[in-house]
Structure formats: C-alpha cells, structure tokens
Symmetry: C2
Subunit: 311 residues, 2 copies
Amino acid sequence: MKESEMTVLGIDFGGTTVKMAVVRGSEITSETFLIDTQDYSGPDALIDVIVSRITEVRKEFPEIAAIGVGVPGAIDFEEGVTYNLTNVKGWSNVPLRSILSEKTGLPCVVENDANCMTYAEWKHGAGNGFKNVICVTLGTGVGGGLILDGRMYRGSQFAAGEIGQMSIDLNGVPGPYGNDGALERYIGNRQIEDYAQALYQEKGSPVPEDCSPAGLAALAEAGDQIALEAWDWVASCLANCLSSCIYLLNPDAIVIGGGVAHAGDLLFAPLRQKLEASLTEECSGQLQICSARFGNSAGIRGSAALASELV
Amino acid sequence: MKESEMTVLGIDFGGTTVKMAVVRGSEITSETFLIDTQDYSGPDALIDVIVSRITEVRKEFPEIAAIGVGVPGAIDFEEGVTYNLTNVKGWSNVPLRSILSEKTGLPCVVENDANCMTYAEWKHGAGNGFKNVICVTLGTGVGGGLILDGRMYRGSQFAAGEIGQMSIDLNGVPGPYGNDGALERYIGNRQIEDYAQALYQEKGSPVPEDCSPAGLAALAEAGDQIALEAWDWVASCLANCLSSCIYLLNPDAIVIGGGVAHAGDLLFAPLRQKLEASLTEECSGQLQICSARFGNSAGIRGSAALASELV
C-alpha cells in the first residue's frame, strides 16, 4: 500500500498530556484524543490506559495499520526503548515499542519528539522537497532534528540534533552539562524573559508586566524599542548558532518552530539578515529559512509519518 | 573487481605542488611524483603537464583503472568542476574531471582536500570501522569533513565540514566572512603563535624565538608553563567547537590531523578532559578522539579511495 493511502495512529507523548489521532497520509482524520499523563503513577498504568484508548479508537477506525509514538526525551530508536523522559518520572529503560506492539498486535515505532517534529515538517510541512534540513524548536528548551541526504539523521546513540546544547560563547553562562554558552541558556523562554527584564531595568524603563516571548512580541509589534532590541538579541544568539550549524552541514533549509517562533518577522527578519552577513555566498545563496508549518500537531503528524513507513 | 584489488592514481593538488602516486587498496605502490604548481601560469598549462605525467606513469603501471584528484578549495562534486581554489589563481569554473577524463580515457573523480583526508582516514585510517566520523585538520587554516551514516556527507552545495568557520564566541574576533568568533581565527597556526607571544609578554616572560605550534610543543615538552598554558587554551577553543559539533551530530569518532595535531598529548589530553566535562554521558560515553593516521599522504590516499569506487 502507498504511504499516502495508509491509515495509522500518531501518538504525541508529552509531559502533561498524551495526545493521539488517526492520520492518513498528510491528513489528520479524527479528533485528537487526550489522556492526562499525571493521572497515572508510572509507565505500567499509563501504558494500560493508552492501550485501552487505542482499542477504542480502532473500533471506529479498524483500518489503522501501524502506530507511531513521539516521546519527550532520549530513546534507543533501534530497540524502541526509552532511556529517560523529560518531566515524566519512571520511564527509564521502558521497552515501549515492544510493549505496545505486543498489546495491540500492530507494528509500532517510537521516536523522540524533536525528531518527530522534524520528520513531520520534512514529509508534509515547511521542509518538504529539501534534501538537507535543520529543524529547530524554540520553547522552554531548544531542540532540533536533522534530515541529511534525504533521510532522518539520528547519530550514533540517537542523540543528534541537540542544538540547544551547542555553545555560542566559550566563556558563556554554564549549560546543564558543563557546556558553557549553551544556546538554550540564552534563548529558552525563561531566559528571554530574564534578558528582557534586565534590559528594561538597564535602560531605566519600567519593566512591562509580561516579558514572556508572547508579551515581548506584542510590545515590539506596538513599536516598543526595548522589546525590539530584545528580539534583535534573540536573533543574534540564534544566528550565531545556526551559522555554525550551516558551516558544518551546508543545508538547503532551516525550519524554525516552537512558541518563540510565533514572533514571526520580529525574529525571522533580523535572523535572516544576520545569517546572510555571516555566511559565504556558497552556504547562504540558496538557503531557505522557513517557519514551521505545524504547531502542536507536529508530534502526531511526525510519529504517524514514521509509522506509515512500517507497513 | 574488488576495490582492494583495484589500482588507481591518487593526485593531491596543493597550492605549491601537485603530488601523484599509484595506489592499490590501502597501499601506495609507487614513488610520489611531484609537479611544481607555480611553474605553470594557468589551468591549461598545468593540466597539460599533469596529463603528460599521468601518461608516463601509466606506461609503468598500465593497470591504473581510475584517477582521483583532491583539490584545495570549493568544488561542485557532482559535476567535477572547481569553483575556486585557495592559493591557486585562475581555477574558477574549471571542469577538471571531464578534462582529465577526456584526455586520459579513464574515469575520474574530483573532491576537495579536506574530504579526501576524511575519506582516507575513514576507509583506511583512524576513522575506520566507525559509522559517524568528524574529521578536523588543524594547520594554517582549520578544515574538516564528515562521514555520516557510513558515507561521505557533502552538503547541498558540497560545502559541508567547514569547522574552521564555526563560531566559538558570538562576540569574538571577526572571521573572514563576517562570522565573528570563527574557530580558525583562534587556532590557525599563526593565531596560536600570536596568542603565545602575547601570553609570554603578558606574563613578563621573554618571548621564545619559535612560538610556532612546533616550537610551542617543544617548549611545553620541556616543561615550560606558559607553553603548556597556550596548549590548554588551544584545547579549550577546539573543545568548545567540537562539543557543539558533537551535540549536533552525535558521532562515534573524531579524527584530528594537520600540523597542530603533531603536538600529540599536549593537545589531546586537555581536549579529551574538556570534552568529557562538557558533554552528556550519552554523547561522550562511546566517543573516540583519535589522532589522524595519515599525514601528507592523506590527499593521495583519499582521492585514490574515491577513485577505486568508480570502476
């Protein structure tokens, strides 16, 4: 069967909610079913409720032929085992793929969430048609994924794409793993907020109540010069890291998603300008800098796209 | 015919000398023939003399079945055309592969020198047996190449692996393309020398006559504390950039060559320690940091290895 005709179940396993939906090709063809992660004390109980929900969904969609799961953390992709999941306790060394596969009788794939987002954007979104794509998600943390030579690149321990841990300053603020200057420590949600608050104070200007990325975007849209300056600084940090990625990988597209990317041209305009000013013509001439197409549905779409290749 | 049984000609086209040798599998089986690049005014004259030298060599080695050429600069790998070569004038848009192929009647491949070094180390040297390898050359400039998922990764415009242009400091010294903090501007040969001279002056210590990387290595071996400090600083800069490469690509090996790498443990010991201190266990646990096996012969070996896959 062609991938585009296949019906699969995409599951986005988040820190607070498990979301699942039926997907056919690039289309989500059901409502999105939700399970509250925190209601269950450990993997066994949560897996049981996920499986019983899958059983219900399959009654309505018996054509479901495979299952894809995106999880928030490190996994062994080949074995389908979670190493440990961010913000979800008790998920060390859970052989999620084989458990789900055994309990449902369907082929399953388990992938980390940043790679799912990357795969969704490449198969059906902003990265479609490109050979080499770097995807970045800007949120509480900064994550990423890579499509290289037309396929997902996962790295030797399936840990590739950790753009948030790359350094932008060898003498910079400490990162979580001793990695001074880690990008995430500059342009994570909270760090942007902290930077903006300090900037207002430094300029002797009253600190706005909402200095979150969304708040700063609204202020900048309204012409607030300090908010604009904060966005320019975010763009500088991101451009520095991306220029390093580009010199290393010479991609044809960069896809940027996550809440911070909702700032749109406030971020993208200075980012493009700064990248062009720091790259060779060879690297920048044909490079596309795109906004991600899918928001919250990227996890479902990406895990489903991977699942549709199983059958 | 098996690659290991194939006899090919490897050509290393450098800024001052063209070197060529007959290669069979991983063995160089002839003397290395030299042509002085500067004796010829442009591509046509130089190509003519290369071709006549190839003709001579083939009289002695009629079994030569293909030709590989490594060139010092940017190329279109698919078309076999040089964009422009560092330190060699007049080589913009020269269709070197088709010219050589037409004049010799043999299949040819043209690749840039950093990729040739990378391929040589991966096929027959320090990177052999690894799936994902980052190669770095430390010399006048800093270059690199990538083996990803068991094959050469070249990037969308064949410009991947420019490790020397990656930034280690978003507020750092200007790079050649507006890329502030470019690694090459910290640990290129001359930059190491400049840094060491400044360090001796700053410490009120007489500046040694020879502060080149080789000179500094000798001083450090003899216990000179300032020279040791300079090497520690070189290791810090390199570790910062490589940790970013590792977070992005999660390789299983890093191979480091070029003149500066001759410092051996003066560089490698602090480098390994700094990398371990800035990486997750996932990324560093199985990571090998290796010294390149081949020195000046890497270009011949790598271009020959690529050529041996043509037939």
